[in-house]
């Protein structure tokens, strides 16, 4: 280990975009902690403040700044790392590493590239290089030919004797291309493609549409030890991006010889690339298993490696980082069993199902079809002993308050008729699973026909058909049977026509509850101590000893627009703070991408849906385990966690620092207006409207438009709109309106985000964010600066005071976020959320304070003095922070690019500097690094900051 580097530069992945989410924070955190345990200093660059990795106790020397060649070069110049670890920051990090190499920066400053050699990266990334590498080791890629005439194209098609896809060269968005199943179609397509291509050239490639898609996560070390951590099977066949596919692990439908052939191919490729670290290999296999092709190789940790880590319990990123330092797999301890060696392939004795989470609920006008371009913003994973219960649990995890398993869109008309065109009805879309289920439920078709039309392996459609068949035996059969089959209490209640709470009561009476099983990487072969559990209706397993008080942190589930990685940051910091208090930190979450679902981040991890049923089950289990009722923290899991408050209160579960009453006051706009009156604080003028006529009357009473309308209980501004004209009113009324609406004046002024921490007696505001965009633009989409640059200290203190009075009046211990508008002398309070908000990581990074730890300690009974906070508005720090939103919704055809109260950005970047102008320039540079050609989010450069001093 003499050549171990001293100072390693780690590049993060920047803001959350579709296709690049929390998985890189998970990988980065694991890697940084592993490197530092190994005695290596880390220098971390990332522009995304809402990450755990950008806290100094994780990232080491943390530089929050743009992921651009110029900026990172400056970082290297200043901090002089001697090595670079490029494989943790997704495609962004990898591209940047290649750019640094191309620019000669790595050579100039003598940086060694750890782990994967850049030559391997280039080989895997470059289409031609990849093909020649794979074919060079005797492995098959999809056959293709570049042709400039119809005759040449047809010669290839005839030789291939299989369906093809035609891709014209240099046409925008692949115009003129397409699939051809017959020679006649091919002839037509090739001719059209040649005509469409400005250079008269098309690529004719074998079509693998309908082949099964399989992925392997592989680790290799410098002594060529190569192991496959997990094989995963996409339920959706080729043609749907794996990020948009339902994924199952381990592989269920393929015979052992086929699995072995694919595994050997994956290992062979990773060995040929001489990768040292983790690698994802995607393969297509013909439905009869006789033939396969290599589709893609990602020479880095990825969304799939995060999924594989959570699916098996094997920490891929951590081990990959140690491999990059030169460690050998067989010399490292087994991370799960504590046994002798990390060189083993996990064996699992359960089934894992991943479902993607799409943003179409917020953008109903978007094109909901699925294809090769990823559209999901996040994902949920579920574990159970069998596929059926795991699938049902995954559905419950996806969005506890939206579509359940029994959901059907009445617009499908399946109650009356079979669809005219089954293939079109079942074309890949976000609702395909529910469409299949509904077809089976109404008896319009069977599992075999669905498999034939969709190309989904019949094994899956038959399991789904079994679940649908089981629905009809839920009523009348013992409750245990329905629970064993996997149905949630809510589904059983709906099928039986009783409220869900009745099912829970019946279960408790009969003592029917889940047991918790350990994810141990070895299918029970060896004793393991991984504190990682999933529920199953099976016999209880040996219980881990726990005699301490436990505190449950409820996470935020799949990443969606308006509820992103910031809540994972909050959940993780909360768990760490709880652990430091000497209590057992228990995390419940369903998102496999995240740091919070790393069992190293807490005392016990339950990978479970965040619905009432599963959270209450975990609470019951923890109570039995520890002999004490656990404290439950809902404050850090976004709206998903807060939504549980009522049901928890109904079940007599106390919520730390918060009452259901306080939540209701903040969510019921009438009661909130009453509270503001009591506190002598101003709210916007407005009233409640129960229908269209009342809406128009309310607008008139405010002196006409513009007004802002809001339904209650909203995430990320869903259903919120600014109405500027009668036309807007008509358009809004044409949508599905969540009555009653609160109709408020649109106050013109400066919008502020104020986070207040309270111990119940005193309050502290650690920082205030000033929104740069005009009110009406969702705060998540607005550029913001901390501390405010255009407000005097006195006004800021008045704003802080307002937040402080609200937090005390609500009796909230912990954290509360208040949005307000300063209009001249007027401070108008818009809304309060009794939970951590998107601003928390920004305040933490800008002020260097562990805001979450302070909040959670207060919620658990500490005083502000105990947690080291002064009362009142904290003095400005040295740094100015500018946050800019970054979006990737341009990827969704059909989404308009107009900014409004409906949040559109998927992520954010931060500029942090001594002066406002420099901070702003950094934020602009950071945002521009990820700006697409047609981003709906305006360049933040155009907005002036710091026009008037404090």
């Amino acid at each position: 280990m003499t050549d171990q580097p001293r100072r390693v530069l780690v590049i993060g992945s920047g803001p959350i975009l579709i296709g690049q989410a929390a998985e890189f924070d998970y990988a980065g955190v694991q890697a940084c902690l592993a490197l530092r345990e190994a005695g290596v200093e880390t220098i971390l660059v990332n522009s995304n403040p809402a990450t755990v990795m950008t806290d100094p106790d994780v990232g080491g020397t943390v530089i929050i700044g743009p992921l651009t060649l110029e900026f990172v070069t400056r970082v290297i110049e200043e901090h002089r790392p001697d090595a670079l670890l490029p494989t943790l920051g997704g495609q962004t990090g990898l591209n940047l590493a290649v750019a640094l190499d191309d620019a000669g920066v790595l050579a100039q400053f003598g940086l060694r590239v750890l782990g994967t050699p850049l030559a391997a990266v280039r080989a895997a990334e470059d289409r031609g290089g990849f093909r020649s590498l794979v074919t060079g080791i005797g492995e098959p890629v999809p056959e293709s030919a570049v042709v400039e005439s119809v005759d040449d194209g047809m010669r290839f098609v005839e030789m291939l004797n299989a369906p093809v896809v035609i891709r014209p060269a240099f046409t925008l968005g692949g115009g003129g291309g397409g699939f051809a199943h017959t020679p006649a179609e091919a002839r037509e397509r090739i001719a059209a493609g040649l005509a469409a291509s400005p250079i008269g050239q098309v690529l004719v490639e074998r079509s693998l549409l309908g082949w099964y898609e399989i992925e392997f996560e592989v680790l290799r070390d410098a002594s060529d030890t190569t192991i496959a951590i997990c094989g995963m099977e996409n339920m959706d066949p080729m043609g749907v991006h794996t990020g948009d596919s339902i994924v199952v692990a381990p592989i269920q439908t393929l015979p052992d010889p086929v699995i072995q052939r694919l595994r050997r191919c994956a290992l062979k490729i990773v060995r040929a690339l001489k990768l040292e670290g983790g690698c994802n290999v995607q393969l297509a296999v013909s439905p009869d298993g006789s033939d396969y092709r290599v589709i893609e190789v990602n020479p880095r940790v990825s969304r799939s490696s995060a999924l594989a880590s959570k699916a098996t319990g094997y920490p891929i990123a951590r081990i990959a980082a140690l491999i990059a330092l030169g460690r050998r797999l067989h010399e490292m301890p087994n991370p799960a069993t504590g046994g002798n060696s990390a060189a083993f392939e996990p064996a699992v004795d359960y089934v894992v199902v991943k479902l993607p989470r799409w943003p179409f609920d917020k953008f109903p006008s978007a094109d909901r079809s699925l294809g090769v371009q990823m559209k999901a913003t996040g994902e949920a994973m579920a574990i159970d002993r069998e596929f059926g219960p795991a699938l049902l649990k995954a559905v419950r995890s996806l969005d506890p308050r939206a579509r359940g398993w029994l959901w059907e869109d009445p617009a499908w008309g399946l109650a009356d008729d079979a669809p005219d065109d089954l293939a079109a009805f079942l074309a890949p879309s976000d609702t395909r699973l529910w469409r299949m289920v509904a077809l089976l439920r109404h008896g319009w078709t069977d599992a075999a026909a669905i498999a034939a039309v969709t190309g989904i392996a019949p094994w899956f459609t038959e399991r789904i058909a079994e679940l649908v068949a089981a629905e009809s035996s839920v009523v009348g059969a013992p409750l245990t049977d329905a629970k064993r089959a996997g149905f949630g209490d809510a589904d059983i209640a709906a099928l039986s026509g009783v409220p869900a709470v009745a099912i829970r009561r019946a279960r408790r009476r009969a003592g029917i509850g889940p047991a918790y099983r350990r994810v141990d990487t070895c299918a029970g072969e060896f004793p393991a101590t991984t504190p990682y559990f999933y529920s199953s209706y099976a016999a209880p397993e040996v219980r881990p000893p726990a005699e301490r008080q436990s505190v449950i942190v409820v996470g935020s589930g799949p990443i969606r627009i308006g509820q992103g990685i910031e809540f994972d940051y909050c959940s993780v910091r909360a768990a760490w703070a709880i652990r430091e208090m000497g209590l057992d930190a228990v995390v419940i979450n369903s998102n496999p991408e995240t740091v919070s679902t790393d069992y190293d981040a807490c005392t016990r991890l339950y990978f479970e849906p965040l619905d009432t049923e599963s959270v209450l089950d975990v609470i019951d289990h923890e109570r039995a385990l520890t002999g004490t009722p656990p404290a439950v923290v809902l404050t850090f899991g976004g709206q998903t966690a807060i939504d549980l408050a009522k049901d928890l209160a109904y079940a007599d579960v106390p919520i730390a620092g918060l009452t259901a009453e306080a939540i209701e006051i903040t969510e019921d706009r009438e009661r909130f207006a009453g509270l503001l009156d009591e506190l002598d604080l101003a709210g916007p003028r407005g009233s409640l409207a129960g229908d269209g006529d009342e809406l128009r009357a309310a607008i008139n009473s405010l002196g006409g438009p513009p007004v802002i309308v809001r339904p209650s209980w909203v995430i990320g501004g869903r259903g919120i709109a600014v109405l500027r004209s009668e036309a807007d009113v008509r358009a809004y009324l044409a949508t599905e309106v969540g009555w009653p609406l609160r109709v408020d004046e649109l106050v013109a002024g400066i919008e502020l985000d104020v986070d207040a921490i309270s111990d119940g007696t005193d309050w502290c505001v650690p920082g205030i964010l000033e929104q740069i965009d005009a009110p009406g633009v969702h705060s998540g989409d607005s550029v913001a600066v901390l501390p405010p640059q255009s407000l005097s200290r006195a006004v800021q203190e008045r704003a802080a005071e307002a937040a402080g009075r609200i937090v005390l009046a609500l009796g909230v211990r912990g954290i509360l976020n208040v949005q307000m508008i300063v209009a001249g002398d007027r401070v108008v309070v818009i809304e309060a959320n009794p939970r951590a908000s998107r601003t928390v990581p920004i305040v933490a990074k800008a002020t260097g304070r562990d805001v979450v730890a302070a909040a959670v300690r207060c919620a658990l009974g500490s005083s502000l003095a105990d947690v080291g906070l002064e009362t009142g508005l904290a003095p400005d720090g040295e740094l100015v922070a500018v946050k800019a939103p970054v979006g990737s919704l341009w990827r969704l055809p059909g989404v308009t690019d107009e900014l409004g109260p409906e949040m559109r950005s998927t992520g954010e970047v931060l500029g942090l500097a001594i002066g406002a102008e420099e901070a702003h320039a950094l934020a602009a540079e950071a945002a521009a690094a990820h700006a697409p050609r047609h981003s709906p989010v305006p360049e933040p450069v155009a907005v002036a900051v710091g026009s008037s001093g404090a």
Partner: protein
């Protein structure tokens, strides 16, 4: 026999064909209730769990599972139809199969797992929490068990307790060939191998044949003279079931063959039971593992090269790393990285090598298939 017992009809997939209530009786004193599938017979044997998630046909027909009831840790079983070409011998060898969920596979060619069990006259019991059972076995639960129909717990436990111990039975005689036979090489013939069959898998024969070896398979009681009469380039001692320490005659034969090999005679490759016999012949004892290795995910370190390979493991017995090995000129060439088990031996003469694991995979990886290449090279040198 292509049994027409599939009840799969489009749209109404059934979990498994015929099933009836039954139970597992454990010698430890309790019973586990489940549903029976496959043949309507009872089964006695020792419980052994494998962590292999697929390859049920290979597992059931592997002669090394003779006398054992196999517990599958992976809960979804029977998902695909089994291709007869992937079976490891001409009949089902395991005594019974214990699973959580037996799935009726989609329609198509090949056998369902229940059909294979029926054909092989063994029962499958489903609805068993195999993780819970595995944890008990791992923690030292006595292993004798019976699978039978009905609900008579007392009778089941009594029968489990009365059943023969796995290591008290000559399983090799029951599974190995009684007549010599030949296996032709694939492609050009490069040499001759003589394999003594203690319970060989077809995949092992196929791996040797694929390397151009013409194989003569001899019965387990073959004498050194019988072997020598074949004038082989390579002697292969096959895998097989049971406790090797009771195989006195075979140990003596292997001892003679080993001496001849060291003396410049045909080199020897021992696999699994063959490996254990080589150790016993050298005076090193074998013993029952606390928890047998069964699965396709263990890694083995090759001492000389530092190479690490994931391999298929299937053994209840291990060679004890005793001074006798060194005295006889052996070094431990391979070790299991999980528990340090001796997984291979190499003789100082370079003429004898053996592995405890299965380089032929089936089910499981064949990452260490070079074991065969090295043996072939040595044979043809």
């Amino acid at each position: 026999m292509q049994a027409a017992t599939s009840t799969t009809t489009p749209g109404a997939p059934a979990r498994a064909a015929f099933s009836r209530p039954g139970l597992i009786g454990l010698e430890g004193g309790d019973t586990l209730a489940g549903m029976l599938h496959g043949a309507p017979v009872a089964a006695e044997g020792e419980l052994v769990f494998t962590t292999a998630a697929t390859g049920w046909g290979e597992i059931l027909t592997d002669p090394s599972y003779a006398g054992q009831i196999v517990v599958l840790t992976h809960p979804m079983v029977g998902n695909y139809r089994i291709d007869r070409d992937h079976l490891e011998s001409d009949r089902v060898q395991a005594r019974g199969l214990v699973v959580t969920c037996l799935v009726e596979p989609p329609a198509g060619d090949g056998l369902s797992l229940a059909q294979l069990a029926d054909e092989g006259s063994i029962p499958i019991v489903s609805g068993i929490d195999t993780r819970a059972l595995t944890l008990r076995l791992r923690n030292g639960e006595p292993r004798r068990a019976v699978i039978m129909a009905g609900e008579d717990a007392e009778a089941a436990v009594a029968r489990a307790r009365a059943s023969a111990r796995w290591d008290a039975v000559d399983h090799v005689a029951a599974v190995a060939t009684r007549q010599p036979y030949e296996v032709a090489p694939v492609g050009d013939r490069r040499g001759r191998a003589t394999l003594i069959d203690y319970g060989v898998k077809r995949s092992l024969l196929a791996a040797l044949a694929a390397r151009g070896l013409h194989i003569t398979v001899l019965p387990p009681d073959a004498s050194p003279v019988d072997v020598k009469a074949q004038a082989p380039d390579l002697v292969v001692l096959s895998p097989g079931p049971g406790d090797p320490s009771r195989m006195t005659q075979q140990i003596a034969t292997v001892g003679t063959l080993a001496a001849a090999a060291i003396d410049g005679g045909a080199p020897i490759l021992g696999v699994c039971l063959g490996h254990q016999l080589l150790a016993l012949a050298a005076g090193a004892p074998t013993r029952r593992l606390a928890v047998g290795h069964h699965g396709g995910n263990h890694a083995v370190l090759e001492a000389e090269t530092g190479r690490v390979d994931i391999g298929a493991h299937n053994h209840e017995v291990e060679v004890v790393d005793s001074p006798a090995l060194a005295v006889a000129g052996y070094r431990v060439s391979h070790r299991d990285l999980n528990d340090g088990t001796v997984e291979g031996l190499a003789h100082v003469s370079g003429r004898i090598a053996s592995v405890q694991f299965h380089p032929e995979g089936a089910p499981g990886p064949i990452d260490a298939a070079r074991v065969f290449d090295i043996a072939l090279e040595r044979a043809l040198a």
